[in-house]
């Protein structure tokens, strides 16, 4: 918490200290130049639209995504989103709604002799931005609801453009409140809560006429019990050799009778630094490179590298590959096979979440956008499609050593 306040104060001081001088300079420059498109770290996708009589621009989109993996989890996610803005007045509002239909029969479910299940999650977001000049702010809220889980979050951010919008500072805060329960059991009977505070500070730089870069620092503080209420952890006698990727049958033959619920630490501090570079090549393609480094108080360290190349094939078609590489270490209480301590003591911290173990993930994908609007405004109608295949290699885990997953989706967007 101390670090949160300190980080916020430093970033806030930077914003406020530079706001005054930048405002004076940009006012002078804007008197000579036409208004520039705003560049923000976390703004909604740009909507480029030909001038019209109405001061309002509306953008609507719908999207259907599907996920499937080799561990028998399937998710279908239809969603809709809308954006209304008045660029002259500097305000905009956003809203989105999605439904997740999850069907799972994963090895974790099989190992506990539970039944397959199908579950529906609904989620919505609402946001409003006011940025009449170089300085602006955004407020937003989100809700996610499913039979045994409720997640609420809200926050705001400030943006300051400097040096004729060649530099943009960003500072955001978000608070989240999650309640996890059990299906068909009211939260008043059984629930676990998790409070999350997140601070994000960043800067976006226009490096030249074809290149932008951004640096973002994230700090996330979680307090509460994030343990999964359905996840049981098998225990073994000391000295038992449980091989990597041991099957359900092998684990059941080796484990002791006791099988306690997962128990994770009750607080977590997470820190991430991200760098993003976007470069336009000969006005016909865009090269994007992201790098994110992460560390947290559970000793998990990770690196994520993301690369995209989006090439214009004429005025209508945009097509390109996507590559992503993720590597992470395990948390400091991770064990492939937890063993009983002296006096049959159960380990105080224990997890079966393989997301907390050491893993490598490689993603390859392809995305395509068809700009079908009139010649004067091609992006007025856009159809999109993408597919990404991920191979995840679990380096130290029971049940699974590899998982293959696919995420694909189609989208349609329109401007009015």
């Amino acid at each position: 918490m101390q670090l949160t306040g300190r980080g916020a104060r430093v970033a806030g001081a930077l914003v406020l200290a530079l706001a005054g001088t930048a405002h004076a300079q940009s006012k002078d420059d804007h008197a000579r130049d036409a208004p520039a498109p705003p560049l923000t770290v976390d703004a909604a996708p740009a909507v480029v639209k030909a001038s019209s009589a109405s001061p309002l621009n509306a953008h609507v989109g719908t999207d259907v995504a599907a996920y499937a993996d080799s561990d028998h989890v399937f998710v279908l996610t239809p969603s809709v989103a809308g954006h209304l803005e008045n660029p002259t007045a500097g305000w905009s509002v956003d809203a989105s709604y999605l439904v997740d239909v999850v069907s799972a029969a994963s090895v974790d479910i099989v190992s506990t002799a539970s039944r397959n299940y199908t579950e529906v999650r609904q989620a919505g977001t609402l946001g409003a931005t006011y940025k009449p000049g170089d300085f602006g702010g955004t407020v937003n809220g989100a809700i996610s609801r499913e039979p045994d889980y409720l997640s609420l979050s809200g926050g705001g951010s400030l943006t300051q453009d400097l040096r004729d919008r060649n530099v943009t500072l960003f500072l955001g805060f978000n608070h989240g409140y999650d309640i996890a329960g059990r299906t068909d059991t009211p939260f008043s009977v059984f629930s676990r809560t998790l409070d999350t505070e997140a601070v994000k500070a960043g800067v976006t730089l226009v490096l030249d006429r074809t290149t932008i870069a951004s640096f973002i620092a994230d700090t996330i503080f979680e307090n509460g019990d994030p343990s999964k209420p359905y996840r049981y952890v098998p225990l073994f006698d000391p000295g038992t050799n449980v091989p990597n990727g041991a099957s359900v049958a092998v684990v059941n033959s080796l484990r002791v009778a006791a099988r306690p619920l997962e128990q994770l630490p009750l607080s977590r501090q997470r820190y991430a630094g991200s760098f993003r570079l976007a470069h336009r090549l000969h006005a016909k393609a865009t090269l994007r490179l992201d790098e994110r480094l992460y560390v947290d108080s559970w000793a998990l360290k990770a690196s994520t590298t993301d690369f995209r190349f989006l090439k214009d094939f004429g005025p209508v078609v945009e097509l390109g590959p996507h590559l992503r590489f993720h590597a992470q270490s395990e948390v400091d209480f991770w064990q492939r096979a937890y063993t009983l301590g002296p006096g049959f003591a159960i380990p105080a911290l224990r997890t079966g979440d393989r997301e907390l173990g050491p893993l490598l993930g490689m993603t390859g994908g392809l995305s395509m956008r068809l700009k079908l609007g009139p010649v004067a405004n091609r992006t007025a109608w856009v159809l999109g499609w993408d597919a990404n295949v991920t191979e995840t290699h679990f380096l130290d885990d029971i049940y699974l050593t590899d998982k293959l997953s696919v995420v694909t989706g189609i989208s349609a967007e329109a401007d009015f």
């Binding site: 101390q2 996708p45 480029v48 999605l98 994963s106 990770a302 992006t379 997953s405």
Partner: protein, 84 residues
């Protein structure tokens, strides 16, 4: 190996001062490293792919937030993991 007296840990105020100084220095370096591009020179930067937003689909982000311990948290509502 010389075992000299250890320097006492910095106070919170000193750390904040150092952090501010480092942040200002970093910002100064970054701000002067970029060219001054005029608004009429920004046609390339206005292309929709030249955003600093993540281009991933929200469903893809959600899956990663569930399946990678280093992702997630922070600025989006959680839940809906499809896991056990």
């Amino acid at each position: 190996m010389e075992s000299g007296a250890r320097r006492p840990p910095d106070s919170v105020e000193e750390r904040v001062t150092h952090l501010r100084a480092n942040a200002c220095l970093l910002f100064a370096i970054l701000a002067t490293a970029c060219a001054h591009v005029r608004p009429y020179d920004r046609a390339q930067l206005a292309h929709p792919t030249m955003t600093t937003d993540d281009l991933s689909r929200s469903a893809e982000d959600h899956v990663r937030a569930i399946q990678e311990g280093a992702m997630g948290g922070g600025f989006s509502a959680g839940g809906g993991c499809g896991c056990n």
